[in-house]
Amino acid sequence: MKNHISPAIRLTLILLVILSVVYPIVVAGIATLAAGGGKGETVTVNGKVVGYALIGQKFTEDRYFNSRPSAVDYNATGSAGSNKGPSNPDYLKTVQARIDTFLVHNPGVNKADIPAELVTASGSGLDPDLSPAAAKIQVARIAKNRNISVERLNQLVDEQTQGPLLGLLGPSTVNVLKLNVALDQLK
């Protein structure tokens, strides 16, 4: 035991220098070359930062494409899911309330067609994306609110849709923040 204490402490100190000082500094150094310089990529409108591309934000107004429900209310100094189990009765009441609210704001939508992600909270509470279907189901509401044609808005969603990785892996997504920035710029 005694023979091992001194090497253990010395080895720990050396590895601290390598793993906790050199390694993260080198990674941080190289990452300055990445988009956003390793600080997180921001989205700017007219020179003003309106958000981080990867961090979802709260969109609840009728004139914007709404983002998903969030367990942390899109406060990005924290992050969490709801952690509600599938059979929890209180949770199912919440989902029912979200369905009802959605139908009030989007008259004419068939309940069965509501994409599940619009009435369930994401894992991080900061989900930046929607599926194209979840964006398009909101088009009629926004068209009415902004007096823009449904076709133009559907086209906008298609333009903003990011296809699967290599064309085949994973779901198609639409970044809600970028979509709404583009929406504001439509004439």
Binding site: G51, L54, N83, S122, A134
Partner: protein, 562 residues
């Protein structure tokens, strides 16, 4: 995704085997490290001495990590002004990262400083993974046809595991993440005004490097609270693939490395097949149930063509989330890209079973050690069945080895079910923490985030995860209090070191025994029949031990949802 992992794992296994061959030389970096640490790299040690070395250095880390967490609030590199930890939380956190578990009873954004993220979490992620790899290498000589007293040098295995394997892999993964959008700079949190006019903060930090080793070393603790569901921690489907491959890579590669080192490829393939079949048995039901969505939500009239979405991210979808949830529980990563608490009931069962066996690939190095004691038991039982002396690679397996293997196998049942029973007892008898216990247990009636069977599963999951050194959680559980921090802390330590000490001791004892060349009288251990036998042993031990608990928790919920 899985094919890519396998494609990388075989050559990596060969490379690892070359690194750890007894005759392979130390490079200048390793020699420099040995010299500064005052180590004699050429000295081989007995299994006992190696275990003492391993436990000593782990004790040093524990003391160091605990101290740093207690005073982090007054130390530098704390741009967000986060506070120091309470003693019980620091105790739990220090142990949790030392043992490669990474159960987190705090959220990274507010619970740690950049200093402790790097000097405690990031550091222990490397060293705990390297400890696991080194422990596996300590059993290698018991497979070789020569009786020996010494089993190698822990320090050499440990240092090389970091310099030759973990650091290079992490570095590559870190850069892939950083260039996909994961923050890597030391800037503190930012504040922005959103398009709707809300002012919100955005936490950041030098996270890319830590997230890389979190997967390469099967650690699993997140920089951010939501772990790999957080869009900074796992920005795209591409990074999801990278992180997924990174976490399965070493557990599989270590298995192949072992095969090359002991020169028994057939045996390796049998073990690999058993593990893979085990994984598929857990994976397929999970994929199906998640893809079908939540039946309770279907009853509300929503069709869910894209599957269950509660606790899941749109960019991954239910299939990649389901695949991850099984991978992360069968190997001991415990990182999550969806919230397991909101998984379907059947998926919850499979996640629990993955952690209960903990040997379908398993953690970095320690996965095979878990498999090793199943193997010893299988050799013993099948030896008895056909009336032959139980032997493993030309060495007799006798009472002492069997006793150790059985104790290790039974210990996990005791820790998981004992812990769950204790928590249930406190929950029922002290719902308001009244009287003596109020300081100790907080308010137990507020522990659970879900009622009925699902609430029970939250408790069972927490202890299973602690014992398996997994680190994922049904995170609805209110676990940052005296009771949970100490109870799981103790389970963590026992669940880590007993399954290392046991197999290393068995291997050390076997290695000393006379080698009897295998003959027609030997029961072959590299056949499909024997593989099946091992699978049956795993199934019986796990099913018999844990079925009652599973029936009370997720299985009951599953049938109530039908």
């Amino acid at each position: 995704m899985y094919g890519l992992t396998l494609l990388l794992a075989i050559p990596l296994g060969k490379y690892i085997a070359n690194v750890f061959k007894p005759e392979s030389a130390n490079g200048p970096i390793e020699r420099f490290i040995y010299r500064l640490a005052g180590l004699d790299s050429s000295r081989d040690m007995t299994w006992k001495e190696n275990l003492i070395a391993l436990l000593t250095i782990n004790a040093v880390w524990l003391g160091f990590a605990f101290t740093l967490l207690l005073i982090q609030g007054s130390l530098p590199l704390n741009p967000d002004g986060n506070p120091s930890m309470t003693p019980d939380l620091a105790f739990n956190t220090a142990i949790s990262f030392m043992v490669n578990c990474d159960l987190q009873h705090y959220s990274g954004e507010s619970g740690l400083t950049y200093l402790t993220q790097l000097f405690v979490v990031n550091f222990l992620m490397f060293t705990s993974a390297a400890t696991g790899i080194a422990s596996l290498l300590l059993v290698v000589r018991s497979f070789l046809p020569k009786a020996v007293d010494t089993v190698g040098n822990f320090y050499v295995f440990f240092v090389k595991a970091i310099t030759r394997i973990l650091l290079p892999i992490s570095f590559v993964v870190a850069l892939l993440l950083a260039f996909s959008g994961t923050p890597a700079s030391f800037d503190g949190k930012d504040s922005i005004v959103t398009m709707q006019g809300d002012t919100v903060g955005v936490s950041r930090g030098p996270a890319a490097g830590m997230i890389a080793i979190k997967h390469a070393g099967t650690n699993g603790g997140g920089w951010f609270g939501a772990n790999s569901a957080h869009p900074f921690e796992n920005p795209t489907y591409f990074t999801n693939v990278v992180e997924m491959v990174a976490q399965v890579l070493l557990p599989i590669a270590m298995l192949f490395a072992l095969g090359f080192l002991i020169n028994r490829r057939r045996f390796t393939w049998v073990v690999y097949s058993v593990m893979t079949i085990g994984m598929l048995c857990l994976l397929i039901p999970t994929l199906v149930t998640e893809f079908h969505g939540n039946p309770a939500i279907a009853q509300l009239g929503v069709i869910q063509p894209t599957g269950a979405m509660e606790g899941k991210e749109v960019r991954f979808g239910p299939l990649a989330s389901a695949y991850w949830s099984i991978v992360t529980t069968i190997i001991s990563t415990g990182s999550v890209n969806s919230m397991h608490d909101s998984s379907m009931a059947l998926s919850g069962t499979m996640e629990l079973l993955g952690m209960m066996t903990n040997a379908f690939y398993g953690g970095c190095g320690v996965g095979f050690l878990n498999y090793y004691y199943y193997l010893i038991i299988a050799v013993f039982i099948s030896g008895l069945m056909v009336g032959r002396t139980p032997e493993l690679f030309g060495r007799k397996v006798e009472a002492r080895e069997i006793k150790i293997a059985s104790i290790v196998a039974l210990l996990s049942t005791l820790l998981v079910k004992g812990g769950t029973a204790l928590a249930a007892w406190v929950y029922i008898n002290y719902p308001n923490g009244a009287g003596v216990a109020s300081d100790l247990v907080g308010k137990p009636s507020a522990w659970l985030n879900n009622p009925a069977n699902h609430g029970f599963t939250e408790v069972l999951y927490e202890f299973t995860s602690a014992n398996a050194n997994n680190g994922s959680g049904f995170e609805g559980l209110g676990d940052n209090n005296f009771f949970w921090n100490y109870a799981t802390g103790i389970v963590l330590i026992l669940g880590r070191f007993i399954p290392i000490i046991g197999p290393v001791a068995i291997a050390g004892l076997l290695a000393q025994k006379k080698y009897v060349p295998e003959s027609s009288g030997t029961l072959p251990t590299d056949t499909a029949t024997f593989g099946l036998m091992t699978f049956a042993v795993i199934l019986i031990i796990t099913a018999l031990s844990f079925f009652p608990a599973l029936a009370l928790g997720p299985l009951a919920e599953y049938f109530s949802l039908k």
